[in-house]
Symmetry: C2
């Protein structure tokens, strides 16, 4: 197994990306034949210089150009042929790598993967599945978290199948509960697209639990939450925003008196635990499902540890043959 | 000024509704001619028995039927002609009351108001404006928070106008910053409807700041956030869900050791402050804008204090002539 890593993508690239790859190379030495760090050779080498010895099985694949975080994905993919993202995806297309990992411009990775790898047979649109901490034993999966803004009911049903495969194979949830994100529980609630998707999901072989609402998301009601990428992206970013807001209010209130400051000191370990439990980066990146190859997008702010976690998930997705199982799931849906 | 209160709507009706109305009747005695408690006379009287003396200017308007929280709005409005919601709205239609307040079935109030009062001239769809605490000096307004699931770009622009009027008149924000909820900052980002709405908003007389994303919502970037009611309802309920989840994690972590329990005791005042600052119920209910009359929907879980706050906002909206100003704003938009 070879893994292509976009060394230039992310707020802290290449430093933290290289550091995370080195960690993963050590931790997963027995599972991966070669790690391909794709990007500017000089930048990667100087980032690596601070990290101690170069681990075995890590090789640089030079790519001149870099896609910036704010750049238009379509333009970036067409114009910057030799960008690290494009080259990393090309390694998957040619079969040299089984997977690509990037903490860079999500839209550019989605565009590159969709254009170069092409969707799996029968897949209308690849979609991003994001793993989010929740109130239950397992985290939950939000799909589509941002790849497709306008979706048909048929697409939503495929997202459900792909998300269920991912929840089963990677999170280890035997029969994932699939819910359709909507504004009421009954099948008549929702918008035009979700009302149609409701009927199709009920008729599908999935463990469909019906519509779920915003207030069910962190309450262990559902394992896979299906929505279009417009709603999914807003849900994801709103959740992060509320969590930050809450954290800021908490910090502010804990410094207003000396007694409170003492209290804050006494609970500091608890606050650290809380942050860890609420932190999605331990799940290490979100797959773009529906393409023939493992593509993992990580948060732009990923540090070395998050990168290493993401690479662990990447390797796991290859080992568990997630793309092949997604393909099979979509085929079965078509024939059901 | 007369205010109609749906005494039977809400998780704690009629007890907390009657108690909240009594408080408001005392606090706002100089502004309101009569409070009309609409609902089952016997239930209202026995709820009032526990509350001390009956305040002046509060009168019961008997209504036999009650719309349950889970009931289908359309069915409820058509079949339960003599429900407290229908009767309260009828008091506004006949001119006997200037406003209606309900903590009951939101969909039923929207349906009753839309059908009985009819939208203001030129208004395509009435919309719910919800006030939410944020990172700035003022809270922010989310519109539409759930009245309309499928919206056109034209509707979104009207929502923006109505939300801006509300932010100015009720929250006192001189030139509200209006943002369009989307998945990227540039005008090419979003779905088909928001891309069209972007151009229309830029051409409007509003103080339009462009697209805003989920992570901007609690960061004092925007005063009025515009979206369709499907997205708005999901944003609202997701935010509540994240806040509850965070609170639960915090409580769990604060009870694991005696030292942490002591720390929790030292910061208890701060946690109370935090809860107050993050609690939307102090804003007391959300108006349905775009109908000729003030209609305020409150959270189903409203207790007496939230009801009293909601009634204060209700009175303020009548005094500030919000419906008339919304009508003028929509007219001006049509001629701009």
């Amino acid at each position: 197994m070879r893994i292509a890593v976009d060394a230039m993508g992310g707020d802290f690239a290449p430093g933290e990306i290289v550091a995370g790859t080195f960690r993963a190379a050590v931790a997963l030495a027995d599972q991966v034949e070669e790690w391909l760090l794709v990007g500017r050779e000089d930048a990667i080498r100087s980032a690596a210089a601070a990290l101690g010895p170069w681990p075995p099985r890590v090789r640089i694949v030079h790519a001149d150009e870099v896609v910036d975080m704010g750049e238009s994905p379509a333009v970036a993919v067409r114009r910057k042929k030799n960008s690290s993202i494009n080259q990393a995806v090309a390694l998957v297309r040619s079969g040299e790598a089984a997977a690509v990992f990037s903490a860079g411009n999500t839209g550019a990775l989605v565009a590159a993967a969709t254009l170069k790898l092409r969707p799996l047979e029968g897949v209308l649109r690849p979609a991003i599945a994001t793993t989010i901490p929740g109130g239950g034993r397992f985290p939950w999966v939000l799909i589509d978290a941002g790849a497709n803004t306008d979706c048909t009911a048929e697409m939503l049903v495929q997202f459900a199948v792909m998300g269920a495969v991912y929840a089963r194979e990677i999170l280890g949830i035997p029969e994932p509960r699939v819910g359709l994100l909507s504004v009421g529980e009954e099948d008549v609630k929702g918008n035009e697209v979700t009302r149609e998707a409701f009927g199709r999901l009920r008729a599908s072989p999935l463990n469909f639990v019906g519509n779920v609402e915003g207030h069910d998301l962190f309450e262990d009601q559902v394992d896979v939450v299906v929505c279009d990428g417009f709603v999914g992206n807003i849900v994801l970013k709103t959740s992060e925003s509320v969590a930050h807001f809450f954290g800021r209010l908490l910090r502010e209130t804990l410094t207003t008196t000396p007694w409170r400051a003492l209290g804050a000191w006494l609970i500091r370990g608890g606050l650290r635990e809380l942050r860890t439990r609420a932190d999605a980066s331990s799940y290490g990146g979100a797959p773009l499902l529906g393409v023939p190859g493992v593509c993992i997008v990580a948060h732009g702010a990923s540090r070395a540890e998050a990168v290493a976690n993401g690479l662990r998930v990447t390797v796991e997705a290859v080992r568990r043959e997630v793309p092949q199982k997604v393909a099979r799931g979509v085929q079965e849906l078509a024939h059901s």
